[in-house]
């Protein structure tokens, strides 16, 4: 199966390397508002969250699009927005559960991640993420890894409980 | 091309901090001019080696050795 972007929120450091890389790669400028991926920071608590496209296999953004501008690209496994067809109604933005769609500051149309289509190394955000909060992996490997990590956590907790008792 | 004597090379090799003195000697001998002295002081040893290689003061091999092994290799090459 094609690779997907997986977000491990606990690892996000809030550095925005993904944001600035995405903006530079796609738009040739460095900014937050031109990026297809976003990072929310809470400096007071030290927490950060990355809001990126989750590559839904049945994307709500495509389902609500009135013109068909937003549609699933089956080869890439991600929904894409055709800028020519987009009428800027923002329904996709409202319905995305992950806040992954933005309004382009110049043409006022919706824009979103396209997995850096054509880049041999894969998406810039995953490539540049220093902490592994964003990875570009096959879903099977992501699932297996997660299971293994979670199982190890349960074993550690059980061992600790046993030592205490 | 011999820019210095073997004695001078030995003196440099034993110095605690050689770079400015070496650049001063090369300027004195007319190997590098004022501007080059300035550039290489700012930018470091590798630039000096490449400059000397370009001028054929030292050979390609001697330049390579100098960058790998450091200034003692360079000063002895300059004393040949």
């Amino acid at each position: 199966m094609e690779k997907v972007l997986i977000y491990d929120q606990e690892k996000c450091t809030g550095c925005r390397s993904c944001v600035v890389g995405c903006s530079l790669y796609h738009e040739g400028e460095c900014s937050k508002i031109l990026s297809r991926i976003n990072v929310v920071r809470n400096e007071r608590s030290g927490e950060s969250f990355v809001a990126g496209c989750d590559l839904c296999t049945d994307p709500p953004c495509a389902a609500v699009c009135p013109t068909g501008a937003c549609a699933l690209d089956p080869k890439m496994g991600i929904s894409k927005i055709d800028q020519n067809k987009c009428i800027g109604c923002r329904e996709c933005l409202i319905h995305c559960p992950f806040g992954a769609i933005g309004i382009h500051p110049v043409n006022k149309k919706s824009f979103k991640c396209d997995l850096c289509e054509g880049r041999s190394e894969g998406p810039v955000c995953a490539d540049w993420c220093p902490s592994g909060a964003i990875t570009w992996v096959s879903p099977e490997i992501a699932a297996k890894t997660k299971k293994r990590v979670k199982l190890q956590e349960r074993i550690n907790a059980a061992t600790k409980a046993k030592e205490v008792s | 091309m011999a820019v210095m004597t073997k004695q001078q090379a030995k003196h440099f090799a034993e110095m605690n901090d050689f770079f400015l003195d070496l650049l001063n000697l090369l300027k004195e001998k007319g190997i590098i001019n004022n501007q080059e002295h300035r550039v290489m002081l700012l930018t470091g040893f590798e630039k000096l080696v490449l400059n000397l290689e370009k001028k054929k003061i030292i050979s390609v091999k001697e330049a390579k050795d100098a960058i790998a092994k450091g200034f003692t290799s360079l000063v002895y090459a300059l004393a040949k």
Partner: protein, 654 residues
């Protein structure tokens, strides 16, 4: 305009004026940005005899052309002023995200002058700038000011620079933060900002930084970011923060114990990055566009401080109010003390340094409990340290004396030269957690000559000797010799310091993080030039680029010359030259070491082309750097510096 925004903001708080000043191409080529812009303004606009709290003084926030771009680590801001601690040139650098936000709002620099009639803060909303009431924020910790401002402006995503209560109370080493926790720690600009009745600057920037050659710029940034993936320093810093240095510092004898009487302690591992990550690390954090992410967020889980949390600490932040004052047994005490200096808004280094100086005065009987308001300054007494940190911030009791810094405190207490022996300062500012008898002789040399005063590791940041062992061949490539990679040798150090100072200065002009290009050498000067040229299109040569570093450095040196500070003041604390390093653990590598500064200083002067008698920059070099007006300024001062009356003066601060 590529890279730069092309303008700076000048805000006069007396008049309430907000002026946008364009920055010409010549100006940007000459100074690049960040520290370069700031140093130029401070030199020209803050005369040597001006009181640091005079309303006419300036405090500058400098961003660079690279700030806010995709190059590695571009969030930093340089804050510069005439220091209330030293009386001389002062600056400091902070990480975070505010610097990028200011660039996106459209400014390369902010200059603050004048004094508001009552507490205010500045709200920069892209091109709309206004001065707002801050009476409800005065007295608040930065974390609370941050929360209130965000609620008031109805935007949780803005970035805010602010001071804490210590700055408001004019503690001479109060500091500045952005994003609550990222501190510009040193030289006391927090107090200058406080003296202007300014609480902070909130910024929303929805613009962008334009790039001259985007594909080329992306290629350079990408290449460098790939290098960071396997970089050994990155891995240590990411995993354990700058606290990854603790065990190395302890082994090599540069971790301050009891005011640098020793270079470490057998229990150092209590506060190592490894221990921190297993006990109190809640989150890792990263500054803007950083591939390293050395930031920490600490949450204390047990003991009397359980529940306290804060962003940080760094090595330099935790050590002074930890081992330097004899605290190591309970690391939670160290984290708590770091939390305090953050919330109160004071330089952790100077706070710990002044307390440890006082403790040594007490140890040696120079002061007694009568002088301290009854406090018994025993090493390692957390209750005393906890109280003193707060007393300093609020200028209470003995804390009020310490709040002016170690050398002024020594004079106030009438301790004479003996008191100054234990303050471990140069030009009035204290050494951080880097004993040069172990950290390295290159660092030691740079402590004597650094242009923000102080035994200051960040003027040279001689990582060619600190991290050199991790990058075999690098010393040879730059210096022509691998032997200087050894910290405790004088071989090659004069040139190393000259090179590193220039390189660090230009790094500060770009305002990128020196962790990417010292500490870690994933980025070299040529790489910086590559991304600078692709970003700005200015196409400098390598020598022009490094010459900017040399220019700014000489300008700062000339600032000190105008204060009659030169060769006679290029000294390190006598502890380093007189006291051989004692042993604290059996695996220590520098037992018996002293700093042979006299073997290195004269040669360094030759590299810098300083005049041997005065230590002032030479006329020849100043002219070469396009600083003719500076040469004119200091020409008449040479004779005065060499006069008998001037020679008799002992200057610990200015």
């Amino acid at each position: 305009m590529y890279g730069w925004a092309g303008q700076r903001l000048r805000i006069d708080l007396t008049k309430g004026n907000i002026i946008k000043e364009p920055l010409s191409s010549e100006y940007r080529r000459k100074w690049i940005g960040g520290r370069g812009f700031n140093s130029d303004v401070i030199y020209n606009e803050v005369p040597p005899d001006m009181d640091p709290f005079d309303p006419r003084t300036r405090v500058c926030f400098g961003m660079g052309p690279i700030s806010g771009t995709a190059a590695p680590s571009t969030g930093r801001v340089t804050v510069s002023c005439k220091s209330p601690l030293t009386g001389g040139f002062g600056d400091s650098s902070m990480g975070g995200h505010w610097g990028a936000e200011v660039k996106y709002a459209g400014y390369d620099q902010i200059i603050i002058q004048g004094r508001a009639k009552k507490p205010v803060y500045i709200w920069m909303d892209d091109d709309k700038v206004e001065i707002r009431d801050a009476s409800h924020l005065w007295g608040k910790f930065p974390r609370d000011a941050d929360t209130i401002i965000k609620q008031e402006l109805k935007d949780e995503d803005i970035h805010i620079m602010s001071i804490g209560p210590a700055g408001e109370n004019l503690v001479r080493f109060a500091c500045t933060f952005n994003d609550i926790w990222r501190a510009a720690g040193r030289t006391g600009h927090g107090a200058v900002i406080g003296s202007k009745n300014l609480k902070g600057i909130a910024t929303r920037g929805s613009g962008s930084v334009k790039i001259a050659r985007p594909k080329e710029f992306f290629a350079v940034c990408n290449r460098l970011r790939q290098m960071f993936k396997n970089d050994p320093m990155k891995m240590g810093l990411y995993e354990y923060g700058s606290l990854c240095l603790i065990n190395f510092a302890n082994r090599d004898g540069w971790l301050p114990w009891k005011n640098l009487q020793y270079g470490g302690t057998p229990l150092a591992n209590n506060m190592s990055g490894e221990t921190h990550s297993k006990t109190v690390l809640k989150h890792r954090e990263g500054c803007y566009a950083c591939p390293i992410c050395c930031g920490r967020f600490t949450h204390i889980n047990e003991g009397k401080w359980a529940g306290e949390e804060f962003g940080g600490p760094e090595y330099e932040h935790a050590v002074p109010t930890g081992p330097r004052v004899g605290i190591i047994e309970d690391a939670n005490d160290i984290w708590h003390n770091a939390r305090l200096t953050n919330d109160l808004g004071m330089d952790g280094i100077e706070t710990g340094a002044v307390i440890s100086a006082a403790m040594e005065w007490y140890q040696r009987g120079l002061i007694t409990a009568k002088d301290t308001g009854g406090l018994e300054l025993e090493w390692g007494d957390e209750a005393v340290v906890d109280q003193l940190i707060q007393d300093i911030a609020y200028r209470r009791g003995f804390g009020n004396i310490l709040a002016d810094g170690g050398d002024r405190a020594s004079d106030k207490l009438g301790l004479g030269d003996k008191g100054h022996y234990y303050t471990i300062t140069t030009r009035g500012m204290s050494l951080p957690g880097d004993d040069p008898r172990g950290l390295g002789f290159g660092y030691g040399l740079s402590f004597a000559v650094g242009t923000r005063g102080g035994c200051d590791h960040l003027r040279s940041l001689c990582c060619l000797e600190l991290s050199g062992a991790l990058y075999p061949g690098l010393n040879t490539k730059i210096l022509g010799d691998e032997r200087p990679a050894k910290p405790t040798t004088t071989v090659g150090k004069p040139y190393m310091v000259y090179y590193e100072e220039n390189q660090k200065t230009v790094t500060d002009c770009l305002n990128v993080c020196c962790f990417t290009t010292h500490w870690s050498y994933a980025v070299l000067t040529q790489d910086q030039l590559d991304y600078f040229n692709a970003c700005t299109g200015m196409d400098m040569t390598l020598e022009e680029f490094l010459e900017v570093g040399e220019r700014v450095y000489n300008l700062e040196r000339a600032y000190w010359a105008r204060l009659m500070s030169g060769a006679r003041e290029d000294v390190v604390p006598e502890r380093f030259t007189k006291e051989p390093m004692p042993q604290h653990v059996d695996y220590q590598t520098n037992v018996g070491a002293t700093l042979p500064i006299d073997e290195m200083l004269p040669k360094y002067y030759k590299y810098r082309d300083y005049e041997p008698g005065t230590g002032f920059p030479s006329e020849r070099t100043l002219k070469k750097l396009g600083l003719d007006y500076v040469a004119d300024d200091i020409r008449p001062l040479r004779k005065r510096y060499m006069s008998e009356s001037e020679q008799k003066k002992k200057k610990y601060y200015y």
